[in-house]
């Protein structure tokens, strides 16, 4: 009986001490974690919408969308975060759209688990810069092995066609969802 009480006492006190320590550490850390998250989002938004100065979360059910504004609080466009399946796993892309939904301002790849050295080339500037000022009407197309001839085409990376194609599809899908939503309003 004495043994049982001792066991319970030891386990309870260890549990309480550990819980207390963790609660205070987490109280200290949480503001920093929130700040890091916010900074990361902000950095990504201003990267794909260079003209933007302010942003506001756009209420959207299954996607992260932001409305962005310039100095005079005029709407300059949208920023969309969308994800889909790549070659080996999910790819998360953030991209900016002009106000009239005609062109992409820029894109960035937030998360990917593609093959190092091949699929990961989608995170390099050579690939991402192709999207700058790209026409998105009727939709983005991709070509293989030859330079793009139209304003709405990009060149897929040799050896990483699936990753390139997936990125294009994720962006097209995001644009369509946003268009549909804006039309409904």
């Amino acid at each position: 009986m004495k043994q049982v009480i001792k066991i319970i006492a030891v386990l309870t006190s260890i549990g309480i001490i550990s819980g207390g320590v963790l609660a205070s550490v987490s109280n200290w850390a949480n503001p920093f974690i929130e700040k890091n998250k916010k900074e990361a989002t902000e950095k990504a938004i201003f990267l794909v919408q260079p003209e933007a100065k302010y942003y506001e979360r756009f209420d959207f059910s299954d996607m992260e969308v932001y409305k962005v504004y310039d100095y005079d609080k005029e709407l300059v466009g949208y920023v969309v975060v969308n994800q889909g399946n790549g070659f080996q796993g999910p790819i998360r892309v953030i991209f900016g759209l002009s106000k009239d939904l005609q062109r992409i301002t820029a894109i960035d790849v937030l998360e990917q688990v593609e093959t190092p050295g091949l699929g990961t080339l989608i995170t390099e500037d050579d690939f991402k810069n192709q999207f700058k000022n790209l026409l998105i009407v009727p939709m983005i197309e991709w070509v293989k092995g030859k330079p793009p001839s139209k304003d709405n085409e990009i060149k897929a990376i040799t050896g990483a066609t699936i990753s390139s194609k997936a990125t294009v599809q994720i962006i097209n899908d995001g644009i369509n969802k946003l268009k549909k939503r804006l039309n409904d309003e």
């Binding site: 550990s18 819980g19 963790l22 987490s26 399946n85 080996q88 796993g89 688990v113 699936i162």
Partner: protein, 190 residues
């Protein structure tokens, strides 16, 4: 459709052992014979499935509503430890043959990082209840496949002339490396 992709991705493309290196200890320790490897695989799949259910409930019914996410790691590991004990007792009561087949592997599972990894991945990726179970089944089948394949190769290796210094863990790791290369062929299926 999405669930099938999730299953295949967890089982083959992002195989727990060969792509995430989770559950390496039993992978090296218990892969000597095909039969024991299969039992280990089944025991792990079983515990993974139960863990996925319980950890999801804890995460979404207790930790998140009461803002206790900083207790995720301690609570998951304690739940897994007690769950393994509980499963062991139930199996012992319900089916003696099953207990004899799986019994000795169950205690080893507590320190198997694949189980905790599964619970943490599930929480991190914000899977739904059903998705979480499918993810567990996929990860478990992937683990079973990898460990059984490994055991098959190691049974053959017994007869091979491996240099003395490479016997045991080193050659097992090298074979695992070649297996991991082979599994890369599954990428692109989704």
């Amino acid at each position: 459709m999405e669930l099938i992709i999730l299953f295949i991705s967890a089982a083959l493309i992002n195989n727990f052992v060969l792509a995430y290196f989770l559950g390496i200890c039993p992978f090296i320790g218990v892969s000597g014979k095909i039969t024991s490897a299969l039992s280990m695989g089944i025991a792990v799949t079983f515990v993974m499935t139960v863990t996925s259910i319980v950890s999801w409930l804890i995460n979404y019914k207790i930790l998140i509503p009461y803002n206790l996410t900083f207790l995720t790691i301690p609570s998951f590991i304690l739940v897994i430890a007690s769950l393994v004990q509980f499963v062991e007792m139930v199996i012992k009561k319900v089916s003696q043959p099953l207990y004899r087949a799986l019994g000795i592997f169950l205690p080893l599972i507590t320190t198997n990082c694949a189980i905790l990894g599964l619970a943490l991945f599930g929480a991190m990726r914000e899977y739904s209840f059903i998705q979480n179970i499918i993810f567990a089944l996929g990860a478990g089948s992937g683990f079973t496949l990898a460990i059984v394949l490994m055991a098959g190769i190691r049974e053959e290796l017994e007869l091979a002339n491996v240099p003395d210094a490479f016997r045991g863990a080193p050659i097992t790791l090298i074979v695992a490396g070649i297996l991991a290369l082979a599994f890369m062929g599954f990428a692109g299926m989704i």
